[in-house]
Each structure stands twice: as structure tokens, then as C-alpha cells.
């Protein structure tokens, strides 16, 4: 209990400072609204429905993009580990594409698909495939041969071995690749919505900032930040649970 309290203390102090500093004039109120005002602004955004309409759009984009990346990335990575021709074809491509800063894709998908959902979903999918595929590939490649052999000896076919033995033993690296991908997914989502979009939470932030409604902008920013934090914590829980056999 004490340690719990202790671990929150730094955060509480920061929040307190945030509330007090603008009120006593340490920083300008319009540049850093006190926390309570931000909360009130958040209630306003939530009750007017703006937060939800834009939030649902962002959520849909993030979810679709991430889902595509996870499925395609996993299949690609495992296939590369399992089959030499696939590996020979995709490895050089992966090595060439890996160093590209993923954000460089923002204008590309916007060029291809305009400002709608399709553009953002493609961006997220393209950007997040590589971390997933690399995790799956490294994990699957690290699967011990004796495990595969014993699977075959126990009568499992090639496909079965892949699904029953290779994928589970690739799981730790695959999951950590997916975790990276999820973080990247949010970054790409928010920044592309800020830069090239007509809706979504990122757009909302840009719009509020542009119109000088700063307390609402802070509220929207904190909403996304906290959402990202929750997603990561939940996924970490999930990883622990899935890997509890370790």
C-alpha cells in the first residue's frame, strides 16, 4: 500500500504542479491551462459528442490497420522462416525497407488514396508489417529443430507442425514485435491525422489548436496519451498471460 502510494507520488506532484503553476502565474494560463480546466473542457468535448465521432473514426483506422499488419506480418515472418524460396525473395526486400523511417510513408499513402480512411489504414498496415514480420521471423527461426522433429515424429504434418510448434515457440518475439507495432500504429495514426486528414482525433487536436481553444486541445491530447498507455498496459497483461507457460 505504502509502495503503491509512493509510486504515485511523483505523478501526483506533477499533477499538482500542473494545477497550481498556471493559477499562481508561474506560466501563462492560456499556454498551460490548469488541469481542472482541461478536465472541464474534456467534459465539454465528451458531451458535445465531438470526442466520440472523431474517436470512433480513429479507433476504426487504428484497429483495421493494426489487424492487417499483424495477420500479414505473422504469416510473412513464419513463411520466411519455414520456406527457403520465400526467404530468398523477401529477405532483401525487408532489409531494404527496414531502415525507411515509417513516417515517410505518410505523403505516399495520401498521394495514392487521398485523405480518407483507406489512406490511413494503408499507412498503418504498411508501417506496422515490418516489426511484426521481423519478430515472427526471428522467433520462428529460433524454434529448436528437435522440437520440430519431435512434432513430425509424433505424426504432425508440415502445416500442423507450423501452427502447433513453430508459432507458439515464436510467440515471445512475435508478441514483442506486435507491441512495437502497436506503439508505431498510434504514432502513425495521430501524426497522419494531424498532417493529412479531415477527421479523427489527430485532426481534432490540430483543429482545436488552430482555433486557439487550448484547454480543449490539451484535453484531446491527454485522451490519446492515456488511451495509448491503456492499450500498452493491456497488451502487456495479455503477453504475460499468453506466455505464462514460460
Amino acid at each position: 500500500m505504502i509502495t503503491r502510494l509512493k509510486s504515485c507520488l511523483g505523478l501526483l506532484l506533477l499533477m499538482l504542479l500542473w494545477e497550481i503553476a498556471p493559477r499562481v502565474g508561474l506560466v501563462r494560463m492560456d499556454i498551460l491551462p490548469p488541469l481542472s480546466r482541461i478536465f472541464i473542457a474534456w467534459l465539454g468535448l465528451a458531451s458535445s459528442g465531438e470526442l466520440w465521432t472523431h474517436g470512433v473514426i480513429s479507433l476504426f483506422r487504428a484497429f483495421s490497420g493494426a489487424a492487417i499488419a499483424i495477420v500479414v506480418g505473422t504469416v510473412l515472418g513464419v513463411a520466411m522462416a519455414a520456406s527457403a524460396p520465400v526467404r530468398i525473395f523477401f529477405r532483401p526486400l525487408m532489409e531494404a525497407l527496414y531502415p525507411i523511417p515509417k513516417s515517410a510513408l505518410i505523403p505516399i499513402t495520401a498521394l495514392w488514396l487521398g485523405l480518407g480512411n483507406a489512406s490511413q489504414i494503408t499507412l498503418i498496415a504498411l508501417g506496422c508489417i515490418l516489426p511484426v514480420a521481423v519478430g515472427a521471423y526471428n522467433g520462428a527461426r529460433g524454434c529448436e529443430r528437435v522440437l520440430i522433429w519431435s512434432g513430425r515424429a509424433l505424426g504432425a504434418g508440415k502445416m500442423r507442425t507450423l501452427v502447433d510448434i513453430v508459432v507458439p515457440s515464436a510467440l515471445p518475439e512475435l508478441l514483442s514485435g506486435i507491441r512495437t507495432a502497436l506503439a508505431l500504429c498510434l504514432v502513425l495514426l495521430v501524426s497522419s491525422e494531424l498532417i493529412v486528414s479531415k477527421n479523427g482525433l489527430g485532426y481534432l487536436i490540430g483543429f482545436l489548436g488552430g482555433s486557439g481553444i487550448y484547454d480543449a486541445m490539451f484535453a484531446a491530447v491527454l485522451t490519446i496519451a492515456i488511451f495509448g498507455l491503456i492499450v500498452d498496459r493491456l497488451f502487456l497483461r495479455y503477453i504475460r498471460w499468453v506466455l505464462s507457460w514460460q
Binding site: L32, I88, P92, L97, P107, V187, L194
Partner: protein
């Protein structure tokens, strides 16, 4: 096959044979890449997709050549690189310092530790509009944003590395007469170096990604800004040229990072091989 066998034996390695071996190696190494580039060129040339969506590869190269010629490439490239490296450098120095502090001082640990563990998974890029509000649209905002994003992997890696130093290694050093300061500089830092470097390796690409985003958002100079400019005028060659340039920067940065790691961790590469 026989040709390859002979060259390997070194009995009669004719220049033709060794050239063939070399070509086979190249094909295996880069075959698919070349294939994809050729497909790109063909698709664009045969107008299977409109050129404003996908310019032919050679036109992209011509465009880059032109940018080299009129000097815009260097301006943009150096700007992007400078911001990335300045932000990255600050992130590394500050990150290692904060990490060591967190690992060695329990007060710092319970005051700042939770902030770090919350800050790491936050999508910090959402704070960019706030930084614009505070610091304007010039380099300050950009560099601060890069530092914010790139510092967390360094901090957590440093904490993990410094806390993971074997107790007996520290004891040995103390036993041999090391004081607190010696301990930090000659034992904990080198012992944590492999982990710290892994953290740095994660943070370098992040720095580049964020640098590009800030340039795209805030405009001004830099490759990211140039790409957005081209995008606005639907100039697809410019967009793709930017993509290619950024890929090359990313590639060079990652390569130099690897080289640095190999240099610094000569002792470690083999250590991993036969650790019991």
C-alpha cells in the same frame, strides 16, 4: 555447380568463374530487390497506373540528380540529419544520465520511476501541437519532440543494464579498491554498455521517424517538409524522391550504429557465444 566447387577449392579460379560466383551471390542477395525495381519501372512505363500515383523509377533518380545539382538536396538532407542527430544526441546523454540516477538512487527511483514507466508507452507525438504552442514552429519544437520520443528507450535500457550488473562484479571492484566514482565510470557504465547500446539502437530510428513527422507538420526545411510540399502539388516524383532519400539516410544511420556497436563491444560479441 562444378564451376563454383572449383573456385572454392582455389585450384583453377578463372576470372570468369569467380565473376559467376560473385554474380550468383549478388543475385541471391539482391535479386528480389532488383526484380521489384524492374516491376516498378515496367508498371509505370506501361502506364498501368497513372504517373501522378507512381512515377517511373528512373524519373525519381533523375529528380534526385537534379536536386543534387541545384543544391536543394544538401540543404534538406543536412537539416533533417542535423535535427535527428542533435535530438538523438541529447536523448542519449540525458537518457543515460537519468537512467544511471534511477538505477543508483532510490529517491530518484520512486519520484521519477513511475513517470518514466508511464511516459514510455505514451504516443508522445500528440504533444507536438502543445510544443508548437510553447516553442513555435522552428527547430526548438522539433528537437524537443525528438528528444521526448528518443529518450525513453535509452532510459529504460540504462536502468535495466545498470541494475543487472552482477553483484559479484561490483563487489570485486570494491574489493580491489574502487570508490563510488570509479564504480560508476569503470564498472557500471561498461557493464551496462551492451544494454545501453541496444536502447540507443532502438532510439535512433525513432529519432529519424519523429524528425520527419515534425518537418511534415511544421514545414520549413528538411526532407519531410520537401515531401509535403511535393505532395501538395501532386508531384509524385518529388514524394518518391524524398522516400528514397530518407531510406538512404536511415540505412546509413543504422549501418554506422552497427559499426559503433561492434567497435565498442568487442569483448561482448564473443562473450555471448560461450556464456554458460
Amino acid at each position: 555447380m562444378a564451376v563454383i566447387g572449383r573456385t572454392e577449392d582455389g585450384v583453377r579460379s578463372s576470372p570468369v568463374a569467380s565473376a559467376l560466383v560473385w554474380l550468383a551471390g549478388i543475385a541471391r542477395e539482391y535479386g528480389s530487390l532488383v526484380l521489384v525495381l524492374i516491376c516498378w519501372e515496367l508498371v509505370a512505363r506501361l502506364s498501368l497506373v497513372p504517373p501522378y500515383l507512381m512515377p517511373p523509377f528512373n524519373e525519381v533518380l533523375v529528380r534526385i540528380w537534379a536536386e543534387i545539382g541545384d543544391g536543394t538536396l544538401w540543404v534538406n538532407l543536412l537539416d533533417t540529419l542535423r535535427r535527428t542527430l542533435v535530438g538523438f544526441g541529447i536523448a542519449v546523454v540525458a537518457g543515460v544520465a537519468i537512467g544511471l540516477l534511477l538505477a543508483r538512487s532510490s529517491t530518484a527511483e520512486w519520484l521519477v520511476g513511475p513517470l518514466v514507466s508511464i511516459g514510455f508507452p505514451l504516443p508522445k507525438i500528440v504533444f507536438l501541437p502543445i510544443f508548437i504552442l510553447w516553442f513555435g514552429v522552428y527547430d526548438t519544437s522539433k528537437v524537443i519532440m525528438i528528444v521526448c520520443d528518443a529518450i525513453f528507450p535509452v532510459i529504460t535500457a540504462t536502468v535495466a543494464g545498470a541494475q543487472g550488473v552482477e553483484r559479484q562484479i561490483i563487489w570485486s571492484a570494491r574489493n580491489l579498491g574502487a570508490g563510488e566514482r570509479d564504480l560508476l565510470w569503470t564498472i557500471i557504465l561498461p557493464a551496462a554498455a551492451p544494454q545501453i547500446l541496444s536502447g540507443i539502437e532502438v532510439s535512433l530510428p525513432i529519432a529519424l521517424i519523429v524528425a520527419v513527422i515534425t518537418e511534415m507538420m511544421l514545414g520549413g526545411t528538411g526532407i519531410g517538409a520537401a515531401m509535403m510540399e511535393s505532395w501538395r502539388f501532386a508531384e509524385s516524383t518529388g514524394v518518391f524522391a524524398g522516400l528514397l532519400e530518407l531510406s538512404i539516410i536511415g540505412f546509413l544511420l543504422i549501418r554506422s550504429m552497427n559499426a559503433l556497436r561492434r567497435r565498442l563491444l568487442r569483448w561482448h560479441a564473443e562473450a555471448q557465444a560461450d556464456l554458460v
